[in-house]
Amino acid sequence: MKAIRAIAVNTFKEAIRNKILYSLIFFAFIMMLISLVLDQATVGQRNKIIKDLGLGSINLFGIIIAIVVGINLVYQEIENRTIYPLLAKPVKRGQYLLGKYFGILLTLFVETLLMSFFLFLLVLFYEGRIDFYLLLSLATIFIEIAVISAVAIFFSSFSTPFLSGMFTFAIYIIGHLTEYLKQFGNDSGSFLLEKITLFFYYVLPNLERFNFKAEAVYHLSVENDKLVLTILYGVIYITTLMILSVVNFERRDFK
């Protein structure tokens, strides 16, 4: 546990050194610009649009950072050969990979937290109150980002950064379309196609399950059971992926 924590903290520091948090400035700039332009460009519901765009940007930024950081961290250490002295110490490969994952999560958590804080400030400025409903969507956005990070780590445990990036991005896109995939199989009338699409429906992450943006912006009620099941789904999916990643990584030959 100590080793995992040490690697996680180190990964976080490395991410800070790599100036990943600079993207926050870009986010803040975009949001400021949008809120200023909206006054001129739209009629009505400016606050709603600011919340939509804020949540959308936090989601998109988080996913991009999760993919970019997730696919590069392990590969870089292998390329720079910095992984050898680390693994020569009493640190298991599994611990190393988990430490890396938690480090990325910590980085993404800080990033999401700071972006959320800025969004809350903006909403407070325009609406005159803090909209706590947004927390619902922000929490599920973070779970989605954590799932995508796990997918990136999984692919990078046995593939090159370029391929890992392509695969993770593809999973992100398909992950939002699995409901349509299932529907397609059901409507096809073919038994085989129905079973194949059902297989992929369950194997691929259903990322639409983490989309609570409408509920947060329109203050729609969400059943507690649904929320708990969503969190549980995310945690179980991440755990499965990390187990597979560790197994892959332990079998990998570093030469």
Binding site: V43, K48, Y172, L177, N211, K213, A214
Partner: protein
């Protein structure tokens, strides 16, 4: 000493070469920049008049999966585009052939976004004279927000005001007035429509009921005046018979 002089000369020569190279590169970049501006302007001439046909705008049913969970953001961006489209045409030809389609796509992407329903219901009928399209959008508004009295009321209004069809308008007004949030004036309006459709008994019964259920004193006064007028007309008819 000569070595130092040579080194100095070499350094000066190197710097001057570097400067020349820098100036040359800046010149190339500036030329390319102005060239691309020129090409952009030349291409503008080839832009067809139908450029703004929005034929590339797919139906919301296809856009929703592509949005990858950013449905609301896409709807917002399209909303901004719609407002600008409306403003542009309002200032020029006052013709809005794609407004209806744009609003429908926004609603497909974000059915809880209520402003496009109001906008479509009012602007499409009053400004674009597309009554049928306005009513279709308002029907979608009723589906999304069955508790809002405004949407059935606007449909009723469109039927009566634009088409002069009181009989088609009445069921919508009845629907609007039955909602808990409905203002009292809808009942008074319905009474007027009952009168126009010649069902005077119905109008009288309705006005009496409305009078009892209305709390606003001004509207109660107006309803009372209408009841009196109807009764006077009825007695006048009876006398002439």
């Amino acid at each position: 000493m000569p070595l130092v002089v040579n080194m100095k000369d070499a350094f000066v020569h190197k710097m001057s070469l570097r400067r020349k190279k820098g100036v040359f590169l800046i010149g190339v970049v500036c030329s390319l920049f102005f060239l691309q501006i020129h090409i952009q302007n030349s291409l503008f001439r080839y832009q067809s008049d139908q450029e703004e046909s929005f034929l590339y705008l797919p139906s919301g049913a296809y856009l929703k999966p592509i949005a990858l969970g950013y449905d609301q953001v896409l709807a917002d961006l399209l909303w901004i585009k719609t407002v600008s489209y409306f403003g542009g045409h309002y200032m020029t030809d006052q013709n809005y052939p794609w407004l209806h389609q744009m609003l429908n796509v926004i609603i497909d992407l974000d059915p809880r976004f209520d402003f496009p329903y109001y906008f479509g219901g009012i602007v499409l009928s009053l400004e674009a004279s597309q009554i049928e399209n306005a009513n279709k959008i308002l029907e979608r508004g009723i589906q999304a927000y069955p508790e809002k009295w405004e949407y059935p009321f606007y449909i009723g209004f469109n039927h009566y005001y634009h088409e002069g069809n009181a009989e088609t308008a009445l069921p919508y007004l009845e629907r609007a007035s039955a909602l808990p949030s409905a203002p009292d004036f809808i009942r008074s309006m319905m009474g007027t429509l009952y009168t126009k459709t010649k069902s005077k008994d119905m109008a009288l019964r309705f006005f009496r009921e409305a009078y009892q259920n209305t709390k606003d004193e001004n509207i109660r006064q107006k309803i009372a005046e209408k009841i009196e007028a109807l009764l006077a007309e009825e007695s006048k008819n009876a006398e002439s018979d």
